[in-house]
Symmetry: C2
């Protein structure tokens, strides 16, 4: 069976978990406190990050590389369209969320509120919380603009881009950092994706000492 | 003709330039001072980053998404292998360089030394320079370890992973931040890639007020 070394609220790990669940691939989840830099773990990934997906004795890292690989060897159900222009748009949005959204929003809010506490690196930096709270509005509005023209983020079918975005937003929803009333289109999109069977594992995550708010797992939020 | 909005020392722009040059695709290069947030430029990419590749009136962003698209529509010469395991390794290494190497090395050295000066945001932060100088050693040693087992970084053929790595290293070589005597294998690899015709454009880059050191464009460095 596949094994995934992960942390529950990591958006990069969530993206891989969603892909595995959507494709109905069984996986054994192992929490890895990667910041403790356990030597065994560093042998699996010298750069010391999660997720690591272990397949037949091989340790795979870098969430986008893993997702593209899973898409190739488990093509059904498809999470990548076939036309090059459409594939480009999926990858562009994955880059948008995993780079710009991550640096401007996720790192400023989730990492300050949760990771600092579990890693024991002090209190949240209020300047970062302020920057993240401002930046998420711009990104939610951009998503609303996309969803005004398309059924899903990258086009008319659900793709890896939706999973990348939902991975960040679901983790931020755990800390009540998403203002769902801001854009109706974004809320509708999240309700659709949240109700998929693939999302169940993520909605049942609980970080010790950090209970989720009641709306987190509620499909009618 | 294609048009690329770029900055000469940006490793993400360099990766796209190398792919275009290797595939012999003509491109019109336009320098874009993206931090000035020109409204015209923000219409091309609301997240305000370079590179932007303009193809037939369409503005494309996110360097990996662009490179994968170029590989699809201009497949020859190939910069991606065909087997899924080999494609995974190329993407893993692109992620390694564009994320970990970038954050630990390029952002700490190149961005502190050059970007601060051209953007007018003050002097380099000595703690960051120190962190970058330490981190590059680990990454060069990791490259040496890979190159001890393979002809190129991701396997026995040259791929996008080599271009991703060379984009960061060439930009850092411009600021004399690469200790080429540390690992002979890495130096040999860079000499091979530096002597390719596709590399010429990059070796002739000059940033005003910031001349390159004499060894920068020298094939026998």
């Amino acid at each position: 069976m596949y094994r995934l070394y992960h942390m529950p609220l990591s958006p990069f790990c969530r993206k891989v978990r969603l892909v595995l669940a959507e494709k109905r691939i069984e996986v054994d989840l192992v929490e890895e406190r990667y910041w403790e830099r356990d030597p065994d773990f560093l042998r699996r990934n010298p750069v010391g990050k999660v997720p690591i997906l272990r397949i037949e004795g091989r340790n795979m890292s870098e969430s986008m590389a893993i997702c593209e690989y899973l898409e190739h060897i488990h093509p059904s159900p498809a999470l990548m369209p076939s036309k090059p222009e459409e594939r480009y748009e999926v990858r562009r949005l994955c880059g948008w969320f995993d780079d710009s959204f991550f640096n401007q929003v996720t790192a400023n809010l989730l990492y300050e509120r949760v990771n600092r506490k579990i890693m024991g690196t002090g209190y949240p930096d209020s300047a970062k919380i302020k920057a993240g709270t401002k930046a998420i509005k711009f990104h939610l509005d951009y998503m609303a603009w996309l969803l005004d023209q398309r059924r899903w983020l990258a086009g008319d079918t659900m793709t890896l881009a939706d999973f990348a975005a939902a991975s960040h937003l679901s983790a931020l929803d755990y800390t009540s950092d998403v203002e769902w009333t801001r854009n109706e289109g974004v809320k509708d999109w999240y309700a659709k994706i949240k109700s998929r069977p693939a999302f169940r594992g993520i909605l049942s995550d609980v970080v010790p000492g950090f209970p989720p708010p009641p709306h987190y797992a509620d499909l009618d939020f």
